[in-house]
Symmetry: C2
Subunit: 369 residues, 2 copies
DNA sequence: GTGAAAGCGCTAACAG
DNA sequence: CTGTTAGCGCTTTCAC
């Protein structure tokens, strides 16, 4: 008993295959009584329509693809090793000492984007298929996905610019996050600039720090550039020339934040800046780590802020002031943009910019505050 | 310039479509020189094969589906509201007080399963498509998925038993977690029983508590039943009849744990059990919350343990002793099982049982320990 | 090695 | 309202 097809259902219900198809797609066009027969046959046979056939005939798959960049510490070698179920014990008992699990820190970022995309896709009648980069070239995977979906959502910078060009020739693409792409791609992003501007304004105006230090991420991050632009703008609006201020460079990772903080501490406690504004949360958390170790008090000795709003910022001590990006909403907006694009293929590029939220917490709290 | 097809490529390369197909699927059967021509044409045209057509012709989609149960607090109404991009502000600044974000607590469980499945699927040359239940009936979504994948991974109890029966008639199914299904389904699970047995043994033998109290989840959870069986077994092996011991009933949720703890406290401090062993982490965390509020000290006054190994257990104070399930590995193992099944459709049901890890932490630490 | 031709299961005109 | 009939783009014998 192979998988039943329309033909089987048609035969069973004593109608033509066209009628079966209609019952499933435009039920209103079919007489109630025949509809019943067909439905009964469907149930009896356990018929499930083939998406492949439907896709071929209808030239549309009902699938939206989401491509995410490589997951942090995915270790291919370890994966291979884990590949076989060794005869390992069923239970292992270990004394788990604090901090041993720090390697589990993962950016929840994409999980949330994924969740939002999935939810919205379903609401819109689409299915989501995901591809996650893994080290090397996105090439193969992205191409493969391109062949099986109606449209592709791509997280910024996870795919080389050139491939985007080619791809967009044959399939709609919506870019997620990253730099603004008013030009040639549909794009949903967040208000990086405005968020950092508001945060900086708070620190400068409310807290009276006129010489905050900005900590960059790795060279070439457009998100970081936008954030810094917001930083500069906030300062400019109170008459401070940001280019005269000191800046530091990290790498967007926690470890990098630690290093930057350590360097600062090494210069002497009295030389510490009054406020450190980091390009992302991970670096800020790293600085918190190191300042804590070194006995530098936050916020008493120095104010620290991050950007992104990852979960850990709520759990650090002190809790970290940050700018929360609406990740889940980002995924959702991307799907919406894609659906719009699919409905109107030849309209101008869609650009959506989502609002952010500045979360003021203890890491930037002052006495007078 | 519509999407190029095999015909376009064939014409461009001056060969037949059969040759184009061969170059892409069995390159070894084609002469090098012609292969070159075809590849060149593919590049020139930006050809991407249609997965639908391929699926139809080859009766296999190269897709594995993963169906996850409803996400905790998904609020459909809120989703609708969020549907339109209101003219909301770009930035909002709020003073974020501690604990305000407790609603964001989400079980990371499925995210990890998802990640593992995705990774392994790709390694095996498959693409993963995911479906997440949302409140109501899984029916429609699962059926839809069934039509577009080669096999379906289903998290236990997210789909009614009967539907599983039907489905498995037309498509391979691998159940994830939940009760053992040695019978009629392929299944990957974890060593619930053994894990709880080891944990209980530790508390009984090492810490000398011969009358721990077990806190159940909601009625009818097979996972919980297995865990309790482990609890009973551990006790039995030191000559204690667990059925004579007190048990409590929660609901697997944090709030439920709080309620249970509150009830216990209300009975009087001196009547407190010496150890409380919970069926999952959420309840244990809830108990920690309430004990903390009530001034009951953990582990001094009472020992508390959980089960699952969710992230929050590392961040609570005291950190929670628990049994960590290898979630990511669960997803990976499920995919592997599916691939095996696909390769050998008619072999006996596959059952994989993954080891767990008992993590001893401060919530069960005693002085003598 | 390569080409011709027959489907894979479904949808969508087009008749009736 | 329902049936007939072309394909959709690709894989796969079967010949050559």
């Amino acid at each position: 008993m192979a998988k039943p097809t329309v033909y089987d259902v048609a035969a069973h219900a004593r109608v033509s295959i066209a009628t079966v198809s209609r019952v499933l797609r435009r039920p209103d066009l079919v007489k109630d009584s025949t509809k019943e027969q067909v439905l009964a046959a469907v149930r009896a046979l356990g018929y499930v329509p083939s998406a492949s056939a439907r896709g071929l005939a209808g030239r549309t798959t009902g699938v939206i693809g989401l491509y995410l960049p490589a997951i942090d510490g995915v270790d291919e070698a370890a994966l291979d090793a884990a590949g076989e179920d060794g005869a390992s014990a069923t239970v292992r008992v270990v004394r788990d000492i604090p901090d041993s699990g720090s390697s589990r820190v993962r950016d929840l970022y994409y999980d949330e984007v994924l969740r939002g995309a999935q939810l919205e896709a379903w609401r819109q009648g689409f299915v989501l298929t995901i591809g996650v980069g893994h080290g090397g070239d996105p090439e193969r995977m992205v191409r493969d996905m391109a062949g099986r979906v109606d449209g592709l959502l791509i997280v910024a910078r996870s795919v080389p610019e050139e491939m985007l060009g080619q791809l967009s020739g044959s399939i709609p693409i919506v870019l997620i996050a990253g730099p603004r792409r008013g030009d040639s791609f549909d794009h949903v992003g967040v208000a990086n600039r405005e968020g950092m501007r508001a945060l900086t304004a708070h620190i400068v105006s409310e807290l009276g720090v006129r010489d905050p230090v900005y900590v960059f991420g790795p060279e070439g991050s457009p998100d970081d550039a936008e954030r810094y632009a917001g930083f500069v703008a906030a300062l400019a609006s109170v008459g401070v020339d940001a280019s005269a201020l000191r800046t530091l460079r990290g790498d967007f990772r926690r470890e990098g934040g630690r290093a930057v903080a350590a360097a600062l501490v090494a210069e002497g406690r009295d030389a510490l800046p009054r406020a450190v504004i980091c390009g992302n949360d991970q670096m800020a958390l790293g600085m918190l780590d190191e300042f804590g170790r070194a006995g530098v008090r936050v916020p008493t000795d120095v104010l620290v802020s991050g950007f992104d709003g990852i979960e850990e910022t709520r759990l650090s001590s002190p809790r970290l002031t940050t700018v929360r990006q609406p990740m889940e909403e980002l995924g959702r907006a991307a799907v919406r943009a894609m659906v719009d694009r699919l409905e109107a293929p030849d309209t101008a590029p869609i650009t959506r910019r989502l609002p952010v939220e500045v979360l003021l917490r203890e890491s930037t709290e002052t006495v007078s505050d």
